[in-house]
Amino acid sequence: MSVADMKLERPAGWNRPPVIEPSGEGELLELAMGPHHPSTHGVFRMDVALDGENVIRLKPVFGYLHRNHEKIAEGASYLASMPYTDRLDYFCSLTNNWAYALAVEKLVGQEVPERAEYIRVILAELTRIQNHAASIGFLIQEMGASGTPLMYAFKEREKILDLFESLTGSRMMCNYMRFGGCRVDVSAPWLDAARKVVAGLSQFVDEFEALLSTNEILMARCQGMGILRPELAVNAGVSGPMLRATGVNYDIRKVDHYGIYDRFQFRVPLGDHGDIYDRYMVRILEMRESIKILEQALPQIPAGPIMDPKAKIRGFRPKPGEAYGRIEAPKGELGFYLISDGGPNPYRYRVRPPSLINLTILEDMCLGHNVADVVLIFGSVDIVLGEVDR
């Protein structure tokens, strides 16, 4: 989809969900899907109005996991907020850490040594692979595959989580990045173990694709379903694999040039139709591109310090000002907006959650489809409630 095609006439209400008239036979059934639901990726509710099997209206309701992260951060120091960022998108704690560290480094103009940048890229791409694998596994599970692809994904994910544990001390709540670098240095045995894991990853993705990509049931249920138009996606603030599956070429790694991503050769997979199958394929291809980045980064990692010597850990008081820093997290654009008033605690700390923003057009995608497809479409958005509710 070229950029020129995205310009269109914008009549009033073009970016509102279509109004579907019920057929008039019988009453509308109002159904609450969730919050206790095996397929809603957490405590999440959808108020659905059904005409027979067709969805007439869908309103997402969340806030069940609201933990007040932004208010806690106003009362805690900048360093103390770092372990809380792990728990936002709890699948991808290292990318959350990086986004927050990036925002603070923008706020104070902090530089990061080269070795730390390489380590950040390696860990972020490992996080992306394990997140996409788990997300596809959950999507297929919601399709009824009872967990077999999920367990394949988890088998590989365990190897990556073991790497995280031996480096940072914890499998998921890593608390690893600091403002100006990383907390602990990687050792040579860790790099060897990482190389071994990365060597086995392409075979895993091949196996995964052999299991799933040509499966007729998957193709029948996913192709042509939950179509999202690119101009609506851009207007609704959708980011990440969902945006790229509609054909829009926007990857923050390539656009913002943050970190050292410019040194690595990787492509950005784009979809043609914007349906569920395209989102699935974009995630599979992104896994392959991440493996490529890892294969380039692991041999190139230079020696040096992992923390800027001028960085302060305790007694950190940025000068008054504000900054917005964002990265390409596996789920989309994760941004942190910080306002500092010169004290040890942030004055305003805001998380821009990709999962919440990607849910804006859930209604548009689900209207007119069956209830069974709602679960699939919702699964392809790939949300984590920790991020939606904070």
Binding site: E165, G169, S213, T214, N215, I313
Partner: protein, 234 residues
């Protein structure tokens, strides 16, 4: 989208994949990814962190506790799960200097989120992370509130669970102790030299007293004593 000879080809290919994994799990270790917990356990990584504990040197947990109740970990803890009360008196630490100690040191491990910030900011290597995670208890109120006795573990235990880290910490502490002893020795030599210089001066009635008390002073720390090996006392 793909040309198929047979409808259902893709499903059959997937089933072949599943069969390969299923039968392969009897043959190759790689394909069998689970262990039968709790009879079999996977050893935890060396760096694993679960909940904090207080390190003590030697055999007596009260006398050897490294914590000096500086309360930095209490201030930096994000969920504020540490509660410290300073003592009124002091006790000697590993170099012999008199330090405060915590009269009360409670950690509520139902609040603790294992972030390890307390370990990072402690200047005295007194609090480290344990690796035990099977800590479930049936006492809801207070069963997960650990006081300083339950939190204390010996330095030997620390060596068992985190050998590389513990050796590093010991080396660093020994180095600091050696530096302090060298400084004390140099100060004693300077004092002895000053006292000797004062003794050679013409004695006046006022100064007659001063060389005499100065003379016995250098002898316990005289330079002729053999140098004590670093880390010899523990």
């Amino acid at each position: 989208m793909l040309e198929e000879a047979l409808l259902g080809d893709g499903i059959l290919k997937g089933m072949a994949e599943t069969a390969r994994n299923f039968f392969g799990s009897y043959v190759s270790k790689d394909r069998l990814t689970t262990v039968e917990y709790p009879e079999q356990r996977i050893p935890t990584a060396e760096n694993a962190r679960v909940f904090p504990f207080l390190v003590y040197d030697g055999a007596d947990w009260e006398a050897g506790m490294r914590c000096v109740a500086c309360q930095i970990c209490e201030k930096e803890c994000p969920p504020k799960c540490i509660y410290i009360e300073k003592s009124a008196d002091k006790k000697p630490d590993y170099v012999g200097k008199a330090q405060f100690y915590p009269k009360r040191f409670d950690i509520d491990i139902s609040v603790c989120m294992s972030c390890q910030i307390c370990v990072e900011v402690c200047p005295f290597e007194a609090i480290k992370m344990d690796t035990q995670f099977e800590l479930a208890t049936t006492d809801r109120f207070g069963g997960l509130l650990y006081d300083r006795k339950e939190l204390s573990r010996s330095n030997e235990y620390y060596h068992e669970i985190h050998p590389t880290e513990a050796t590093e910490v010991d080396a660093r502490l020994a180095e600091e102790k050696a530096k302090l002893e060298a400084k004390a020795k140099a100060a004693a030599e300077a004092a002895a030299a000053k006292a000797a210089a004062a003794a050679t001066q013409p004695a006046t009635p006022a100064k007659a007293d001063s060389p005499a008390p100065a003379a016995p002073q250098p002898s316990p720390l005289s330079p002729t004593d053999p140098a004590k090996p670093a880390g010899g006392e523990s």
